[in-house]
């Protein structure tokens, strides 16, 4: 059988040769300037670190109730959070930096979750997934406690249970919080100005409770 090799594109070939020259120290003057300009990107350290953090969450392997089934689905092929770099679910809180509270939290379970959260290393984030965890949903009775009572929650994902898309969207919102990105502009697009949730007498704040990494004020 005949093996055919496509010829490499010529500009790729040229840049390869230039890189070799660079390694040899042969590039000088304008060539060197252009070479460096093409390859170096400047940013602040904070932004670079945030970029790395936001694109490599290590969620904790932690399911509480039926929402955990949907949480499992975000790793499967249809929703596939590996696209964003969050597929490394860690079984140990020491190695995880994101806890997804997927389900109802009973009063007896709350101290255990808090303990797991305290064992996670900074910076760490928490997502409250589903109605039960945020507002106790249909199980609003003597046994349950909302997650905000004992954890600083970064993102609340509503739904009963939320679809995997919703959780992935929540994770993307968390990513944009971590990256410090401005909102995606949907308020402008849908003319929803003035619908932001703000406290009376307070300066406008983001609609979600944003806690800086390491800030335990909401705990």
């Amino acid at each position: 059988m005949e093996v055919r090799r496509e010829p490499l594109p010529s500009d790729f070939r040229i840049s390869q040769l230039k890189a070799r020259d660079m390694l040899r120290g042969d590039l000088e003057g304008e060539d060197l300037e252009r070479y460096v300009e093409q390859r170096v990107m400047t940013t602040t350290l904070n932004r670079a670190v945030a970029w790395a953090r936001g694109n490599s969450f290590f969620p904790l392997t932690f399911g509480l109730a039926c929402c955990a089934i949907e949480q499992i689905h975000i790793v499967a092929s249809r929703m596939d959070v590996a696209r964003f770099g969050w597929e490394a679910f860690r079984a140990s809180p020491r190695q995880a930096d994101l806890i997804i509270l997927s389900g109802r939290v009973s009063i007896k379970m709350a101290p255990i979750i808090r303990r797991i959260y305290d064992q996670m290393l900074d910076p760490k984030w928490a997502i409250s997934m589903g109605a039960c965890c945020s507002s106790m949903g249909v199980f609003n009775n003597y046994a349950l406690v909302p997650a905000d009572k004992f954890l600083p929650i970064s993102v609340h994902v509503p739904g009963c249970p939320p679809r995997p898309e919703a959780l992935a969207h929540g994770l993307l919102r968390l990513r944009s919080q971590v990256l410090g990105d401005p909102p995606a502009g949907w308020r402008e697009r849908y003319e929803a100005i003035g619908t932001e949730e703000v406290l009376a007498g307070e300066p406008p704040s983001p609609a979600v409770n944003v806690f800086e990494p390491g800030d335990t004020a909401g705990a």
Binding site: K108, S134, N141, L144, P146, K149, L199
Partner: protein
Amino acid sequence: MPDATELELTAQELREIDTEAVLDTEFHRGRAVLVVKPEKIKAVLTHLFNRGYGFLASLHGVDYYPHEPRLGVLYELLDMYNVDRISVKARVPTSDPRLPSIVDLFPGAEFPEREVYDMFGVVFEGHPDLRRILMPEDYEGHPQRRDFPVGGEPVLFTYNEEQSYGKDV
């Protein structure tokens, strides 16, 4: 299931041993219930146990509010040789919710009795380890009683986070 006649015969048999043990009998939708005086519950269950009802299928509590005495404890017995079921019910008031424990007769009753104690506050005297089983140990109240508030924790929104979060800093 014993039919209504057989239930009356069983009640009569128990009354012959102790005249005031059985307070009432109920036969509803094929289910036979002996209503028993709380102090006599152990004697009645022992007698039924010796008659062949050797398996305690369930032990659970009920709150019959607003009827008095409010609390009820039901013992569902099963005769596995004749495939026969009978329920024994004891009613206790909330002011003095005491019943003798039957753990020495049916060892499997230990956890159900703890659950009834946890949820309804019925004290089983003679139980080896009467602690809460489902709720945290420092929990106050008995949540399955009808006068216990239905709602749990208040829902947290942004407007009440300052009051509820414990944001003391």
